[in-house]
């Protein structure tokens, strides 16, 4: 009943889209995290005007569908072609690839900033006081004390965000990018075998997400040696 030959063919076709999926996800997560951190710090410090702008930006991104945001960037900005050309950024917004990346980065930035802000909130005042007592201030304080602790605290929730970002790359297929989902859609319309294609494409995404969750769990483990039990020293082996 199960046609393994077809499953294998589908796998070969679909796996060709994996590099693009990975590229989109990696860029979105890396650049998005930088944006998220910046937004979270602005919101956390309650910088006047800027923090209200951040709150509004986060509200807009979180309150509307990502697909719509992608369409605004890809189709909507095309309307301002002359302006964009005069600013020299048209070659960037002409490419569906960069439009998809822009939308994904903004999305990771907005959702991620809320998570990192939660992490920043969890840094206890005592630690900051201690750092200040040692004479740290400003950038050094953030780099050495606040951000590492905030990131560690936010990591489990951020892991979910990373998975969501990987899933969100599939929307790029709607603006003509042939990543795994785009190829899957093409394959379904060519063969009318939706179920088989779904199984293979789903398995690719599940494997990818499984690896990512394991990596994040590993990172979490590495970053929290203080929460582990101390290794118990036994002298049994040492004795003859």
């Amino acid at each position: 009943m199960i046609d393994f030959g077809f499953l294998w063919q589908a796998f070969v076709r679909l796996i060709a889209g994996l590099p693009i999926t990975l590229e989109l996800a990696a860029t979105a997560i890396l650049v998005g995290t930088v944006l998220a951190t910046a937004l979270a710090i602005v919101a956390h410090l309650r910088v006047p005007v800027a923090s209200q702008c951040v709150a509004f930006f986060v509200f807009c991104i979180r309150g509307s569908p990502l697909l719509l945001q992608m369409f605004i960037i890809y189709y909507g900005l095309g309307q301002f072609r002359h302006e964009l050309q005069s600013w020299g950024v048209w070659p960037f917004f002409r490419e569906p690839y960069w439009c998809a990346i822009t939308a994904l980065v903004l999305s990771v930035g907005a959702y991620g900033s809320e998570i990192i802000r939660g992490g920043l909130k969890s840094v206890s005042a005592g630690l900051i006081e201690a750092a200040r007592a040692c004479g740290m201030s400003g950038f050094l304080l953030y780099r050495r004390i606040i951000l590492p602790i905030a990131f560690r605290q936010a990591l489990p929730a951020y892991g979910n965000e990373v998975i969501l970002a990987v899933k969100a790359t599939s929307l790029a297929s709607t603006i003509t990018i042939m990543e795994v989902t785009g190829i899957a859609a093409e394959l379904i319309s060519q063969t009318f075998r939706a179920f088989e294609v779904f199984i293979v494409a789903g398995a690719i995404y599940l494997t990818l997400n499984f690896i990512i969750t394991r990596l994040i769990a590993l990172l979490e483990y590495r970053l929290s040696p203080h929460q582990r039990d101390l290794p118990v020293k036994t002298n049994i082996e040492a004795r003859p």
């Binding site: 945001q69 369409f71 189709y75 909507g76 899933k167 379904i188 939706a194």
Partner: protein, 247 residues
């Protein structure tokens, strides 16, 4: 200065003509699209609640097979892009329906109704998220209260209705609010199979007027409105629930 203001005025006038309710305005159509979006989201969310409760129940069942199936369900649907699930339901449903119709003598293509596909897709995806929320909420229900209910001789159904369900609902409300927002935003994906909801409507309008920016921004404003109104409703429900729980 004068020229800039004039330009701005004309721009605003053009925009309100474009998305307004007058002649040649797309306001009514967009509002109708927002209605379809809300309807899919609400129906899908309700189906998701029913299915999600069953999945949560299976996840806590003493039967290993039930737990395994439920875990596989939530892992798969939370790990696979929603767009793929929609493609599966729509195209898979099409071929299933065509085969079935073939048995009854109809020949040729029988398509899935897009609205039903949308509702079903949202329901199936939302169920996976809601199951996790409900299970988490169940775990926070004080075990003592269940013991106490046993002690006063409540039967299973009464215990569920009077003790477990109200507490679970109370603890789950914030999480359910989040899954509702997810469901609402997912409805936009149904536009890929041709259902005319808000996003698709905006797409069609921008296709015939060549003004995509205005229409997508307007659609965005409508989505934000639905989000704000529904989050206010959820906050009200949380407040009411807190009053009833005496918290």
């Amino acid at each position: 200065m004068r020229i800039v203001l004039d330009k701005l005025w004309v721009g605003c006038k053009n925009y309100t003509d474009l998305v307004g309710f007058g002649e040649g305005g797309w306001g009514r159509v967009l509002i109708a699209g927002a209605g379809v979006t809300s309807a899919i989201a609400v129906l899908g969310f309700l189906i998701g609640s029913i299915l999600g409760s069953l999945v949560a129940w299976a996840k806590m069942s003493p039967i290993r097979l039930a737990r395994g199936v439920a875990d596989a369900y939530t892992t798969t649907l939370r790990g696979v892009p929603d767009l793929l699930v929609i493609y599966l339901l729509y195209f898979g449903g099409n071929s299933l329906l065509s085969t079935f119709a073939g048995f009854f003598g109809a020949n040729g293509f029988v398509g899935m109704p897009t609205f039903a596909t949308g509702v079903l897709a949202i329901g199936i995806i939302s169920a996976a998220y809601q199951a996790e929320v409900l299970r988490g909420a169940f775990n926070t229900v004080a075990k003592g209260s269940i013991e106490a209910a046993h002690a006063v001789g409540m039967g299973r159904w009464l215990l569920f209705r009077r003790v477990v369900a109200p507490q679970v609902l109370h603890y789950a409300l914030p999480g359910l609010g989040n899954t509702w927002q997810l469901a609402l935003k997912e409805t936009a994906l149904i536009s890929v199979v041709g259902l005319v909801e808000l996003l698709r409507q905006a797409q069609m309008a921008s296709g015939s007027t060549r003004r995509p920016f205005e229409f997508f921004i307007t659609a965005g404003l409508l989505y934000l409105t639905i989000t704000v109104v529904s989050s206010l409703l959820f906050r009200f429900a949380e407040y009411r629930s807190a009053c009833r729980m005496g918290g």
